[in-house]
């Protein structure tokens, strides 16, 4: 199964062995940053599903900052170590999930204060950032399995979000074009 995961993630990750976490003597199928990305995406999926945070403007601004925060580390403008790579991946994933979910939701961002759900959401993120290094340092076969499972879940969720967005944009474009075609066909509005 690990080989299949290595092959799958080989399409989206450089899998640099020097920058990959090794658990139970085996490298994870994704690099340190992608470990954060995909486990972060999986965690964000669960937190959004269970807690249903309100998408306030502040919420979106914070998650936008998570996306931007990746730039200096992803482009190596700032020297950093392995754990920072993973953490930036987590934050980036949370930003991605928040933004990619937007077109698929009925609600619009509100300007109100953060609710209890939002607070719990951020606590969930903080808990992940605390538990992640512990899990990595602890190592072991069980943790390797957890990371692989979470990584696969996160990958599938991100893929779903991307495909859903492309589909939604295509549908919106089709709807916009359709009235124009009806006018063209029968000459009447």
């Amino acid at each position: 199964m690990m080989e299949s995961l290595h092959e799958l993630f080989g399409f989206v990750c450089g899998q640099n062995p020097d920058r990959t976490w090794w658990l139970a003597g085996v490298p994870l199928p994704f690099c340190q940053r992608c470990t954060g990305l995909y486990t972060g995406a999986a965690t964000a999926f669960i937190l959004h599903l269970v807690l249903r945070p309100i998408l306030t403007n502040r919420f979106l601004k914070v998650h936008g900052a998570f996306l931007v925060f990746m730039a200096p580390f992803g482009f190596h403008w700032v020297t950093h170590g392995p754990m920072i790579r993973t953490i930036t991946g987590v934050l980036f994933a949370f930003g991605l999930v928040a933004f990619l979910r937007l077109p698929l939701l009925a609600q619009a961002p509100v300007a109100g204060p953060a609710t209890q759900a939002n607070t719990r959401f951020y606590m969930g993120l903080a808990l992940l950032l605390i538990l992640l290094p512990i899990g990595i340092q602890g190592g072991g076969g069980f943790m390797a399995f957890v990371f692989c499972f979470a990584g696969l879940l996160g990958f599938c969720y991100l893929l779903f979000l991307c495909v859903a967005n492309i589909f939604a944009w295509s549908a919106a474009a089709w709807r916009r074009l359709s009235p124009m075609r009806r006018v063209t066909n029968d000459g009447q509005a």
Partner: protein, 390 residues
Amino acid sequence: MKTAARNSTLALIGLAGLTIYILACTSFSPDDSKVTYPAFDENGQVGIAVYDRSERNTQMLYLPATFAADGTNASGPELLRAQFLPDGRHIAVFSFGSPEDSGTSVRIAVLPWATRTATRIFEIPELSDSSAAALISPVIVGHRAFLMGSNQVLRLDLLTGRLHRHHLTEPGPELSLYPSPRGNTVFFIQEAQNDQPVRFGTMDPESFKQTTLMTITNDVMEGSFFTYNNTGSQVALVVKADEERRLVVLEKGIPRFTRTLDRGEGKLTFGSAVLSPKSDFILASFQRTPAGATNASFGLMEIPLSTEPIRETLLITSAPSGDEMESFYFQPALSHDGKTAAVASTYLALGLENLKAEDCALFLVDLSDRKRKVTRVPIPMPKERNRISF
């Protein structure tokens, strides 16, 4: 509608960010972060070390020693050439034996790097001319190495050990195999014989089918380099004409670009050269001995394929020299992004008795720096070292 447009815009930003992330992640490979080079151990044996550019440390990785049947000391240093395989998880080290040894065998060690797999060692006898092969970078396509045997081409799978011998049916002089810059095909040169000119072409790594790209009739200067682009459509070499040393770039055998390198004063020989990834300049190692002098300089020459001035970066000055062929043992490598050149003077230290200790080093030249900053990674020279004669 406004909300929908804003949501779509934010989602688009997210999608773009993810796309950039994935593209960047797959290009951050270890290729340019590590440099393999020959180095001494404390006993004077030559081995292969790996220099980590980001960590700025060196690790000795491979140290072969062959003892004679009736001796207690290891025999002469072997010529070693090492290269990361494209997967970044293995290093292939080719040992061609001592230059004094006219043997025709090669030993190939495949060492795991940052992975736990077996070390494989292959010994292949009866190659056509292993000493000549030692002066060329190993020919590796994917994880398969290509070697010339006696009237046959050998293809060795470095990860499985499977060996395939392809017997050459076409008559003529033997071929010399050359690597492609991107490691996706095999080039060959067939020497001139009788009325047939030098033939340069590609060899399909699967079928071994040879395709002639061009014939070379130029009178190549002794000590010239020979380099080419990834498709083999461009070939560059040095000729001597009217006392001038001239670079000639051929396309399909026809000179498309020439420029004068110097006026032919003193001695100038080249080790090897590489064409930049954008084919806009040639990086060559050189050895220059001024007329009437006994000391030579070694360095790197950047030759733009335009009218831009040639740039020389001297790395070793006033080295005691006696033989122009020493430049063959001073061969550079260029990083995949074309921004860093690397060359080690280990074998010069073996051949030049009075080479200064500070001149025995791995030199890393930052080609993106206006002043061409040189990082010198010392290779400690042992007091006693087995010598080789060039």
